[in-house]
Symmetry: C2
Subunit: 686 residues, 2 copies
């Protein structure tokens, strides 16, 4: 064997005169005899270079590039001619599949002299998958399913062994995989695949233990499907399991909506309709099949190419997906059927992908804190952070996670659907024509706004023309937040959330309505008014959200958080400053309040692409301390204090630096009394 150097820099020469080979970026180096294939040298040095075909020049995953020049620091002069000429195997590969200039197949190219070899990121086994947000931890590609190309010994009458046993022998000899099992459906197709491939096949091995698929010849692509099953929408990403890339994404409405808009109405449906759970299970599974078809079509593959799926969802979606009646989640003590991860066959949830595909469902945390929250935790990794991080996933319920690497607590808070525009007189779903941004002039109290589908503010001369097709039809969740925050900042709303009738003198947009006032946001067709009831609905929702977060802060004995992450589609659309003005979240440095987008879905994708992440989230979820807000005495107290804007007692020093908060004042009421009367009235309603 060659005199193999270490990773440290060594400018000495090999005693035997063997050339020096240095791999970059790892810096691993060694002396190898002339004629050594680059891939073989890399294997010896533990350099991470991918290969599916096992060095046969078929898969093209082991590509490398020569770094030419004199590398003084490395003590080596690297020359392209120190690598063997382009071989016929490489030429065949290049002709058939294409090879970028300078790229070589490291299994074919052999060492002839000193060389520096660069391993591109896309040639690594454990590639890093690019994530959009820079602050996130990287995803290292290490899926549960891996492909292995093998050449299998032909059967011999004198030594009668099964085709499967000879395949296993090949996997052992060529890939060091031992003690494998094989799905019966893979056995059923095995003999034909071996003969069609002339004893060369590609094998998919699950978790290094289970043969799940066998294709004749070389199989290049397999796919994974990561799905977030929301109560309202189901979103799926199709990923290339060889590169980790998202190759198609799609979403559709959860058809369970016909059984009830929100979670509780779906559980009620089950309570009142025996067998209703099965109807909803069937509905969501059909939708998943549609979604799988859609992403496969978009990616130009078939659903049979999908070998692995991962799922997140709240506890009720989780149970219905798995065919578990969610009725126990509808009443105390809100017992989950299981809080562990579930790994089963896709066929067990009637998902028509590859017949041996597995699905992995992330673990639920508690009766109100589901696998979606587990996905958020996996994506945002608060358990790896020093910073005390508050994560809020805002949907119909808000799931709240707080903690750092020492401790994590989680709860669910019953915000109701007000943040999504429901229960609001002018509310509507986020769709073209919905107001999503609002500004109110501090002097004139005149509003301007933006609607979804148009980039212009409403005071722009072209606004009417550009919105002609859909009009101005309502206010969506983020629009409500901004409207209320701006009303508060411009003095229309008092800190107690009462529209100050005295402001009617300043603007005709403040109008009396019975014993309360309203603010006319848009005098069009339809008229869009923010009523006192609308404000109360948002106050109740935001107070629930804040109280939940506050309860978790109590549990950890802290008064402030270092970082706030807003997860969920809603979190992506709201302006965090306005969320803080309303007191939805505790005070925090605004630079550290970010939106994580669909972090639950990202968690599903991580579990799809990295098998270690599954153990990780299962371990973390067990350690999360679960708080049931409904039975915590202090929740009610926090809730009442959190009704005020931004809060009755908590100071908001960071917010005060960023925004000019109005002075506290009393509201004038239609009957001429001050705020106190209004507050008493509101308390009676509480």
């Amino acid at each position: 064997m060659a005199d193999i150097g270490t990773e440290t820099i060594d400018t000495g020469k090999s005693a035997t005169g063997d050339p020096l080979l240095v791999f970059m970026p790892s810096g691993r180096r060694g002396y190898f005899p002339k004629g050594t294939p680059i891939l073989a040298a890399a294997r010896q040095l533990g350099v991470d270079i991918d290969s599916v075909c096992g060095g046969r020049g078929i898969c093209g995953r082991c590509q490398v590039v020569v770094s030419e020049g004199e590398f003084a620091k490395l003590g080596v002069t690297s020359d392209t001619h120190h690598l063997s000429d382009f071989s016929s195997v490489e030429q065949r590969y290049a002709d058939k599949r294409g090879l970028k200039p300078g790229r070589r197949l490291s299994c074919q190219a052999v060492l002839l002299g000193d060389l520096v070899i660069d391993v591109p990121a896309d040639s690594q086994v454990h590639k890093q998958v690019v994530r959009k947000r820079a602050e996130m931890r990287e995803i290292i590609l290490d899926p549960v399913i891996k492909l292995h190309y093998v050449e299998v010994r032909e059967p011999d009458m004198h030594d009668p062994t099964g085709d499967l046993q000879r395949l296993e022998e090949a996997l052992k000899n060529q890939w060091s995989l031992e003690g494998l099992d094989c799905d019966v459906r893979a056995i059923q197709g095995l003999q034909q695949a071996l003969r069609k491939g002339e004893w060369k096949v590609t094998v998919a091995v699950h978790m290094g233990k289970q043969i799940t698929a066998v294709w004749p010849g070389f199989q290049e692509k397999i796919y994974g499907f990561a799905v977030d099953v929301g109560s309202t929408t189901i979103a799926g990403h199709l990923c290339d399991l060889q590169t980790g890339e998202v190759v198609a994404s799609s979403g559709l409405m959860n058809p369970q909506i016909r059984f009830g808009e929100d979670l509780m109405s779906r559980v009620s449906y089950v309570m009142m309709n025996p067998g209703g759970d099965q109807d909803m299970t069937r509905a969501v599974r059909e939708a998943l099949n549609d979604l799988a078809q859609a992403v496969a079509r978009e990616a130009g593959c078939t659903v049979e190419d999908i070998l692995e799926c991962t799922f997140v969802g709240n506890p009720i979606m989780h149970h219905l997906l798995l065919g578990i009646n969610p009725i126990e989640l509808g009443w105390a003590p809100f017992a989950l059927a299981t809080d562990g991860p579930v790994q089963i066959w896709a066929s067990e949830i009637d998902l028509k992908v590859h017949p041996n595909a597995r699905i992995y469902v992330l673990p639920c945390i508690a009766g109100h804190v589901g696998a979606d929250t587990a996905g958020v935790i996996l994506s945002e990794t608060p358990y790896e952070s020093d910073e005390m991080t508050l994560i809020v996933d805002v949907g119909t319920n808000a799931e709240i996670v707080l903690g750092n690497k020492n401790r994590l607590v989680a709860a669910s808070s019953p915000t109701g659907p007000a943040f999504e525009g429901a229960q609001i007189s002018c509310g509507q779903r986020a769709a073209p024509g919905a107001i999503e941004r609002v500004r109110i002039d501090r002097e004139t109290l005149e509003p301007r706004f933006k609607v979804i589908g148009c980039d212009l503010w409403s005071d722009h001369p072209d606004f009417a023309k550009q919105t002609e097709a859909f009009g101005v039809t309502g206010v969506c969740g983020s629009g409500i937040i901004e409207a209320l925050a701006e009303m508060f900042l411009s003095g229309i709303l008092t800190q107690d959330g009462v529209i100050d009738g005295a402001m009617a003198a300043k603007s005709p947009r403040i109008q009396a309505e019975g014993r309360t006032f309203l603010y006319l946001l848009h005098d069009g067709q339809p008229q869009l008014k923010i009523t006192q009831n609308d404000i109360r609905a948002i106050q109740l929702a935001k107070a629930a959200l804040y109280a939940g977060a506050r309860l978790l802060m109590d549990k950890l004995g802290i008064e402030k958080v270092d970082r706030i992450t807003l997860a969920g589609a809603f979190g992506s659309h709201i302006d965090v400053k306005y969320a803080m003005v309303l007191g939805m979240i505790p005070d925090c440095d605004l630079a550290k309040v970010t939106s994580a987008g669909n972090a639950a879905g990202t968690g599903a994708r991580i579990a799809l692409l990295n098998r270690g992440a599954r153990d990780e989230i299962a371990r973390v979820v067990k350690q999360v301390e679960k708080i049931e807000t409904a039975v915590e005495a202090k929740f009610q107290e926090h809730f009442i204090e959190a009704m005020a804007l931004p809060h009755k007692t908590s100071p908001y020093p960071h917010l005060a630096k960023a925004v000019k908060l109005p002075e506290p004042k009393l509201a004038a009421q239609p009957d001429g009394t001050g705020e106190d009367g209004g507050r008493r009235r509101n308390r009676r309603r509480g």
Copy 2:
């Protein structure tokens, strides 16, 4: 803790004055404080006493009996009054389920003074299952599925854990079962079972690892189903997995017969009809469902009570059962898809038993030696014997196994269906009216016979009356064997298998037919004649069988075998002496030639009842040396020599002692030539 004695006899007294407790038949003994439950003491001493309910007086499996009297050898005086009085729990059990006089529940009865306690066989966990044949090794009950009764902690909102996790906690605390997985279909029914059982459930655990079923309250019975899938008949036994007893047996025709009578014609069907394999797979699976229904009905249970199934069958039946196209088994090199055991869900072969039931299919050995032979080996355990044992499973093909604890060889021999009465002019399947026994008077050459369905010989005056309903319709396999053997012993047949025309002078039953003679076995309606062609068919079959056995003897370098076992339904019906007269099997002490009945099916039953047997047969099968008769040059040579009766060259010393073998002679031919001419003619035919 008490001063615990050892298993050795110790007449000394306990230092603390604790009573002495001796368990029989194990002899294990120890001193325990008064008030110790007998079951608890047994656990400490490692005495094998069963319990499903964990000492709650529910299951009644821990029954013991007091042995009263003075036991000088044991040094103890045992008195019924040294055991606590019948408790209310025992009374409740006795009232509800019955308790034999003298029986006590060892979990309830406590020690009050010196006692000798007898543990009946039916109270042991690892009971011995009774087998009909005394020489067989015992089956120790240790099925893959075990029942455990547990009490589960109720859910708590303050400590939200899944119902499954609390069930697992109970299994860990109450049964020391850890690291369990759970089938998703068991999770689906879990919450309801726990609540219906008021947090007391019985759990079925597979291999100590997998929760496969959960029943509310105490579940007493679960069943296993062992099936031999033959080409002609499918036979199944339903076993009580708590006792090991066969509670129902049933059989039916393999419906694949409509695609082809024998194996090769079924493979041909697949070759000529694409998709034909799926038709046959569907057919056999439907039959299995019918069979499961039939045995469940007979046992008074439902198919959902069947939690485990085991299967044996020849390679083609094995492949078709598992949905594997058997086409590769139809041509050289006869490659099996797999030669390993297969363990999958029953649902994967569309078997409608318990939704989480598993099936285990014993391993095949080679392309012509199947899981049925593995079953025979497991049942007959030649690998544990010092004696050189020849096992012959006679069907359409004959599977032959030879060896002892040092070495095992196996082969298949193409006997064809002649032994089953096919290819014989007067042949028929074993059914009422078929001749199964034949005797020929050595002087008069007059035959007498017995037919299936009547116990009388044909020369009995009542024979005609008793067979009136079905008549005398043909000759079945065992009848052919006896007819030929008797024809040989009475001089009608020469050792070369030629009907001696000279004997026509002695009896009108020997009649010329063209250039050969025939023997008129029965002059009725129809006439039953044994023709020269019939004799040739049997000669070819028996020569193939003998040649296969001889080939294996060559491999092991032996000239004689110590024991011969005839397996299969056919083996049960033939008289081994006549089989030896024809030279179907090598010479052997007739006392050591036995029939094992359906040993393949017994092997399936062993694998059902004892989990260790599965590892055992998988290990043994790997060690079996497989001989492919078709490519062994010596096979043809052995075959030709074996055409003679009993054999051209091999002496039959044991047989000669038991039977008066005729002197060799030449046959007179219709054209007046001697035997040589006949032989030459036959050789031309070969």
